[in-house]
Subunit: 534 residues, 2 copies
């Protein structure tokens, strides 16, 4: 352990990540995210800009993290004012933080056009700002904005900025690819040049994903000698996002060439919480998780091809570059039309359904699966419907209620005072224990009305579905045109337990398909509650 | 131009991309996507596996592309059978294609465990397969599966596989990072070793994104000498996806170090269609476009920070690594709607709508467009609805008919003899020239019934819509959950002329959204027929 070099993960989700269009953190959300980040084991957590807005002022009113180093971000001293008269620097130095991160110009063009000062004065602003932070007992960090573009335009000046920051006492000088247009080999070359002037264990990298290479650029910089890497959870950030720490972290911990050389401060146990943390963060920012995200995506370890699936069952290393368990994710062998028995067994195992491999009922299940998939069913994203289907063949699914009939209607007309009104209504008649129950409800669409009516009264089971909620509804038209078939996927949530499950329905009629998925959802919930049925 | 080396873009969206969970291309969709790809200027289009399933058989029943090279994919000859007795190879050689791409094992472990044959026999399978393709007049391509992992385990054998394919006459030997776990510097090192045995202008790279570095790995391989790069549109593919050609292409065309050395066959004019093509493809696979995608994402050139925005207005290069116009995207600044106006002008020009740039009605049109887009409308894939909206502001759209009311109903019940019956019915009441017309129709779903009833009788216009047909219907739920809004896209076809057009509707109620799109479709048809209206 002691012969490894320390590598510092610096999270800027709450600062640069907050530049993402559509993302606006509240103080409470910032506090929750900061705790997620420190629990994961990141080294630095940058919380925002003190003095810039009420949210950040409230967030920096207290020391928000204890396990990680807490950092505040702001600009270096402005040209033309003295340090003591710069309100931005004053707000930064007043924040109860461990580290102060100054963004500094390092591209001569920007010093001239945006900052409107001399190159020498900009160096002086950097020097004074760093010295002030150190004097105030803070760790000083300098983010050299546009460092790579600046280096390409004027290498001597970009290097002057980095060296000035380091010589003034900055703990870290961070090389930023602000526009995100740099290539990994350029990062390698430029970092190699900088390391000759500023030691690597005082250098950091801050990359953006505008050419889809923020991760590669960050790793190239580490290989060239930097010891701090900045990024965000799930790669959020302005334009195409910042370097994705959710992707970089597992590579650093799991891939030998990095794992043998560096200690990130994140343990293998902490790494196992990564998938859950990534999804929890998406919930906070109200974004659907990226199914295809490296390491943590729902599909990151999913295999559709039958030939791959049978090889994975023999030896996972054949088609997996790391173990899904290592990041808290799981293997998924998709039950698709290319699948065979091996996929089926793996899925049954994953769902904890006991069976014997010689059970003849498995043949019936497999053939029904294939027949249904040919009709348009897809169980890849409908675990609950898959489990019900399997149990109907292999075990026993109680018969909780019968739907005698239903009707749903949408009517649009002009009322007596000339306004157009739309009425959407559904009626459902169910039988539970010989008792006939009829319910009617309105909704904002035919399926919503049907959902409301169906869940209004199922007799003795009603209390058990009180906390059930339809949280996502997806429609896909297969084939297209007049011969089209509609596939509906429904995600349900039990508000009482937080448990989620997905069901599927297929029909030429969207209402029928939806009703099938709704019924599967309710049946699944009642089954999981351990009911014996009517 | 002539001093540049030719670099070949090989698209596998329709083959490896079809391994994506949740994606199932129909034959019609494959045909549409193949045309998009050849229009973009890609060199090779791989369409699927002939002989593997009915969809691919139908797709390979004809030569589907003429501007690009058309490729079919399959396995090398199986061990233990003679070439003439291998149905997979026979199906490949029978396909009307330019190129046959064989996937071959190149990791000794897989030859042993998955293929269950000797290392020498695997080389023989490669040799015989390539020779058969060449003899059949096809270009032979060999995808060396697991090449990088194989090279790490047994470099001599991996190299043997590549050399055998090349010496047997393969036009291309493609090095595949099948599990997606390789790092760019490993790709650089290994490609450098292979280039010593197989010339770079016969080598390709096929990368996967499991560490978020498929783009970087592809570019590293090109820098190390390969001349073919495989990938998919929008990076679709199994697990975390394939190398994203939508990201790689602009880097190759726009970044000097690649642009000065290589000719991709894609012109700067074709590159300007990339953003539109990327979004059209997402519509086809019914997936919400990634707002943060490099180059083509809605936010790829969006700036939130005020300081950045004002700098961009002074000089876009300060915060943009390439021009958004170069990929057909646009800059988004919160401070200005300049981008909106220029985009609107471009759209009006494209549709051949005449206008004056000083016409004040353009302001009203732009603000209605923005307001509708905020509500969920999307005109990128609904030209006909866009044209109607524009003409309602700038010109004149006749009022052909009024819908007085409509009603649609789905009823499911058990009939007198105990069978479950579903009845779906709609009634529409329209007014044409003071005449009230009422129609009723059944359908296989509420929207289909409504469509049938609406088109049953619109009086004097009826003959003109006789050949109109609804050929595609797509539904997307925006937001999700209870606050969801439904967007419906309808594609219509006039069987008499072959002309197709697309319309959009948005509402909390799927029936209302569909009805809006249906009405736009009929109105558009009547307008294009030159009717003056009621």
């Amino acid at each position: 352990m002691t012969d490894k070099a320390r590598l510092y993960l610096y999270d800027t989700t709450l600062r640069d990540g907050a530049q993402t269009s559509g993302i606006d953190f509240s103080v409470e959300e910032k506090i929750i995210v900061a705790h997620l980040l420190e629990d994961l084991g990141f080294s630095y957590i940058e919380g925002g800009y003190p003095g810039a807005n009420p949210t950040d002022d409230a967030f920096f009113s207290e020391r928000r993290v204890t396990k990680a180093r807490f950092a505040a971000f702001g600009m270096t001293k402005r040209p033309g004012v003295s340090l003591s008269n710069d309100p931005g620097v004053a707000a930064l130095l007043a924040a109860p933080v461990d580290a102060v991160t100054f963004v500094a110009k390092s591209w001569d063009y920007h010093v001239d056009v945006a900052l409107k000062t001399t190159l020498e004065d900009n160096l002086d602003c950097i020097r004074q700002s760093v010295e002030a932070a150190v004097k105030a007992g803070r760790e000083a960090i300098v983010d050299c904005e546009h460092f790579f573009d600046g280096y390409k335009a004027n290498p001597a000046y970009a290097l002057d900025c980095a060296r000035t920051a380091f010589e003034a006492g900055a703990r870290w000088v961070v090389l930023c690819d602000t526009n995100g247009g740099s290539m990994p080999h350029e990062v390698t070359d430029i970092v190699t040049a900088v390391v000759k002037l500023v030691p690597g264990d005082h250098l950091g990298i801050h990359a953006h994903d505008d050419t889809g290479q923020a991760v590669a650029n960050s790793l190239a910089a580490i290989r060239a000698g930097v010891r701090q890497v900045q990024g965000t959870l799930n790669g959020i950030g302005e334009r195409c996002g910042n370097a994705n720490l959710t992707t970089i972290l597992p590579t650093l911990v799991l891939k030998d060439e990095f794992a043998q050389r560096y200690d990130t401060g994140v343990t293998v146990e902490q790494l196992k919480t990564l998938t859950q943390l990534s999804r929890a963060f998406d919930e906070i920012i109200n974004r659907a998780p990226n199914r295809h995200a490296p390491y943590v995506g729902l599909s990151a370890f999913a295999t559709k091809a039958g030939i791959h699936a049978s090889a994975i069952l023999k030896d996972p290393r054949t088609y997996e570059h790391v173990s899904p368990d290592s990041v808290g994710n799981r293997r998924r062998l998709l039950v698709s039309d290319q699948a065979g028995r091996s996929n089926l067994f793996a899925e049954l195992d994953r769902l904890g359904i006991t069976y014997s491999k010689t059970d003849r009922r498995l043949t019936g299940l497999l053939s029904e699966l294939k027949e249904r998939e040919a009709r348009g069913y897809s169980y890849e994203a409908a675990d609950a419907s898959f489990e019900l289907l399997a149990l109907r063949h292999l075990g026993d699914v109680p018969h909780f209620y019968d739907v005698i009939s239903y009707r749903t209607m949408v009517e649009s007309r002009v009322n007596a005072i000339g306004d157009r009104v739309v009425v959407t209504e559904a009626v459902v008649k169910v039988k539970v224990d010989q008792e006939i129950l009829m319910s009617v409800a309105e909704g904002n669409g035919p399926v919503n009305a049907l959902d409301q009516a169906l869940r209004k009264d199922i007799g003795k089971y009603q209390a058990e579905i009180a906390a059930l909620e339809l949280v996502d509804y997806k429609v896909r038209i297969l084939n297209g045109g007049t011969g089209a078939v509609t596939r509906v996927l429904i995600e349900s949530l039990d508000r009482a337990t937080g448990r989620r499950w997905s069901t599927v329905g297929v029909s030429a009629n969207i209402v029928e398909a939806s009703f099938e998925a709704l019924n599967d959802s309710i049946t699944y919930k009642l089954l999981k509650n351990g009911n014996a049925g009517a």
